[in-house]
């Protein structure tokens, strides 16, 4: 299983993500005991930085849950409902992230097929 560091390195969340077209905002991922990643989205253009800044949407969870969410084994939405993930700020952005993860997984499935 990869680490959070590896996940952010591997994905790099592409420089442009069509699914985030029209979306502008900032995310802070707080991975408990591991670190902080700040992502800025401007109409689909993405910039990633390993740093802690004020963000429109903060998503906080432990590392195993984060990996499970990124790899599609756990839903961000139900994890938040269970209290495993806390989301502060703009919930709309969190859902866009959920959708983006879904699209990434879908695209991997199609590549594999």
């Amino acid at each position: 299983m990869p680490t959070a560091h590896e996940v952010f390195q591997i994905h790099q969340f592409q420089k442009y993500e069509p699914l985030l077209r029209g979306v502008t905002g900032t995310y802070l991922f707080e991975i408990e005991g591991v670190g902080y990643w700040f992502i800025s989205v401007r109409d689909g253009a993405i910039a990633l930085e390993e740093a802690r800044h004020e963000a429109d949407c903060t998503i906080c969870c432990d590392e195993p849950d984060f990996i499970d969410i990124i790899e599609g084994r756990r839903s961000l939405i139900t994890a938040a409902m269970q209290g495993r993930v806390t989301i502060h700020g703009d919930i709309t952005l969190a859902q866009k992230f959920h959708g983006l993860v879904g699209a990434m997984i879908e695209s991997k499935k199609q590549e594999a097929a």
Binding site: P18, I77, M81, Q82, G83, Q95, G99, L100, G102
Partner: protein, 681 residues
């Protein structure tokens, strides 16, 4: 016969109690304080000197408040009660209850007043199915003057916080007040019950109202008074119509709630008590029904459903890229994925209906920014229709659930498991292509062709969609038509057999425009004929079919929203009198439900009963039933946007001598409609 429960609501928070104001659950009674699909109070019982008081009168002050007038039992009707008890309750973020006891005697009274409180934190699915096995642990604690009832499963926490303004002895099962009342004296306390979603201070909220007479402020960004004033003003010779209209507008305001998925966007919950949640189909149809009256509802619906459009193939949730959601829930079973509603995508009609609404919104409002902003989502929905909706490439959209355990078997509006029946009463096999979904797809493609041409700058797509729509219409009229019965099959089943029951779905086909002109009259005759038309509305299934049951959820009952779409469909094909006939029948029925059309009522004919018979578990209020009278008005008045003007072409029966609807909003600003009743039905 059980007394009807008392329901009050505010967005997705609601209380169901008995006529005393008590909450006491039993297998027969789904009472409680509910919020976010969780029951935060399952017991709330008032006793005085160890006995339950008797109800004298119960009064719904407002949609969010009620008051209960009680007296202690004296054991005989010949002895006047020495005191009275008044409970006033207002719901919103929990509830606030004022409890007042008055001594009517010239001698003092000493009373032992007790409120018993408990919470089972049951998921609404568990309440509905009466299955209350729980995986977590319950706890209770007393913090100063607060009783905390709690439930925890892993990190999932739900708490109910109860406080009293008057001093009380608090134990783990409630509050005791030892009250001394002087002659003609009075005692009162204020009780706050808070639904704390995750048990933390951060999530704590105050009850929204402190008094049952507070000014209503529904989740519509304005007071109820302003909301009512901003809607078109209706005046009619038939005063019942005015009452039905007013009731519908109030219910539409009361049902609006802020989904945690979309804070800031208030959408109507589908219906009280079972469907106080976001439903794709219900929101889309309600928004369509009320567009000429409350256009902002459609804008919110489009934005929220676009935001949660499917992006992945997920068998558990029946999700696919581009699909529009069916239902979103927040309870424990959803959180732990024992139910797929986070959200669940098991519907095949919401996706084309999303496209229909998008176009209809622009036609009425002239606001094209939504159509432009959500072009990508609209294109994804169109792709879903062709790539996932049409599973076998036969040109029709069909469904079969992938979640075999907890998914919906039928993914059309008649979504009970036994709704798609052959004329002999046997069940259709899967995958199923119901007729009305093909109509919605036809309509969606035609409408999106316009959007593509006028707003997306893509004439190639427009041409392709028009061609596909024309081909679909031709193929549909060939493959679904049953010549010997002169109506369209309800569906094609897994073996492509025509499911040959006569149902109200043919009215949806007329609404969509997919029906060939030469077949429309036969359909209209069926819709107002003796087997489908009950006299109170259009039955979901004709009464001469093998599967018909007048109290079968989708196989014989009358659904007002269904009848409202049937009426518009009839009108669209020029059957104005027939449209007026079914509209008037449903409006007449509303009088027997305190001017509030319920989710559904029984299919018994008007020749069998002088009043419409209730369906036992019908939700009321129900959003698309509240929308039905508004769509009937549009149909009767013949309201239609033509360019930047509102066309009015009334066809009103003499029963309603005259109607005026003033200040209809749209791309023309505000406009008025007047009509006189001209024909007998």
């Amino acid at each position: 016969m059980r007394a009807k429960p008392v329901n009050i609501l505010e967005g997705d928070t609601f209380v169901v109690s008995d006529r005393r104001g008590d909450i006491a659950i039993s297998p027969e009674e789904a009472q409680g304080l509910f919020q976010g699909d969780t029951r935060f109070l399952s017991r709330w019982v008032l006793t005085v000197n160890g006995a339950l008081p008797n109800p004298l009168s119960t009064d719904d002050v407002n949609y969010f408040s009620s008051q209960f007038f009680l007296v202690p039992g004296t054991g005989t009707v010949y002895v006047d009660s020495p005191m009275s008890i008044v409970r006033q309750r207002a719901v919103g973020g929990g509830f606030h209850e004022e409890l007042k006891v008055t001594n009517h005697k010239p001698t003092p009274l000493d009373l032992d007043i007790r409120i018993e409180a408990d919470a089972d934190f049951a998921d609404l699915f568990q309440v509905k199915d009466a299955e209350l096995n729980r995986a977590g642990k319950f706890y209770k604690r007393i913090e100063g003057n607060r009783l905390v009832l709690g439930y925890q499963r892993e990190k999932f926490v739900r708490e109910t916080w109860v406080t009293s303004s008057a001093p009380a002895e608090i134990d783990e099962s409630g509050f005791r007040f030892r009250v001394h009342l002087e002659p003609h004296g009075e005692w009162h306390t204020g009780l706050d019950v808070l639904a704390a979603l995750d048990g933390t201070e951060a999530m704590k909220r105050k009850p929204k109202y402190k008094d049952v007479h507070d000014t209503p402020t529904p989740n519509v960004g304005m007071s109820l008074q302003s909301w009512m004033a901003s809607a078109p003003q209706l005046h009619a010779s038939w005063s019942d119509l005015e009452k039905i209209y007013e009731r519908a507008l109030i219910d539409l305001a009361a049902l609006r709630f802020f989904s945690p998925y979309a804070p800031g966007e208030a959408l109507p919950a589908a219906g009280l008590p079972w469907f106080m949640a976001l439903f794709g189909r219900d929101s889309l149809i309600t928004s369509f029904q009320v567009l000429p009256f409350v256009p902002e509802l459609a804008a919110a619906t489009i934005r929220v459903l676009a935001m949660r459009q499917g992006t992945r193939r997920d068998d558990f949730r029946d999700e696919e890229p581009g699909k529009i959601l069916h239902e979103s829930r927040m309870g424990e079973m959803t959180a732990f994925e024992e139910r797929p509603h986070s959200p669940y995508f098991g519907t095949s009609d919401a996706t084309p209906l999303f496209l229909v609404l998008m176009d209809e919104f622009e036609r009425w409002s002239g606001r094209h920014e939504l159509v432009t902003k959500f072009e990508a989502e609209a294109r994804a929905a169109l792709r879903w229709i062709d790539e996932f909706g049409d599973r076998d490439g036969d040109g029709f959209v069909e469904y079969e659930r992938r979640n075999k355990k907890t998914g919906l078997e039928n993914q059309c509006w008649k979504d009970s498991w036994d709704s798609i029946l052959f004329s002999d009463g046997t069940l259709a096999s899967y995958p199923i292509a119901t007729c009305e979904i093909q109509g919605y797809v036809y309509d969606a493609k035609r409408r999106c062709a316009r959007l593509a041409r006028e707003f997306w700058g893509d004439s190639d797509l427009a041409n392709r969609l028009e061609k596909e729509a024309a081909e679909l219409k031709q193929k549909f009229n060939r493959d679904f038509w049953i010549p010997e019965k002169q109506f369209f099959a309800l569906a094609l089943d897994g073996q492509k057999r025509k499911v040959d029951s006569l149902t109200s779905n043919i009215g949806h086909l007329m609404w969509s425009g997919i029906v060939d002109e030469d077949k429309a009259e036969a359909c209209a005759n069926h819709l107002v004929g003796p087997h489908l038309f009950s006299g109170w509305g259009v039955r979901t299934m004709a009464d001469n079919e093998g599967g018909y049951n007048p109290i079968g959820y989708h196989v014989g009952t009358v659904w007002p929203f269904d009848t409202s779409l049937v009426a518009l469909g009839l009108r669209n094909y020029g059957f104005k009198k027939e449209a007026a006939k079914v509209a008037l029948a449903n409006l007449e029925a509303a009088k027997y439900f305190q001017y509030r059309l319920p989710e559904a009522f029984a299919g018994y004919g008007k020749d069998e009963t002088d009043f419409p018979v209730e369906y036992p578990t019908a939700c009321s209020p129900q959003a698309w039933s509240a929308g039905a009278p508004l769509l009937f008005l549009r149909t009767l008045l013949g309201l239609e946007p033509v360019g930047n003007r509102l066309m009015v072409d009334p066809a009103v029966p003499k029963r309603i001598e005259w109607i005026e609807l003033l200040g209809i909003p749209g791309r023309w600003g505000r406009s008025d409609a007047f009509a006189r009743g001209l024909f007998e039905i």
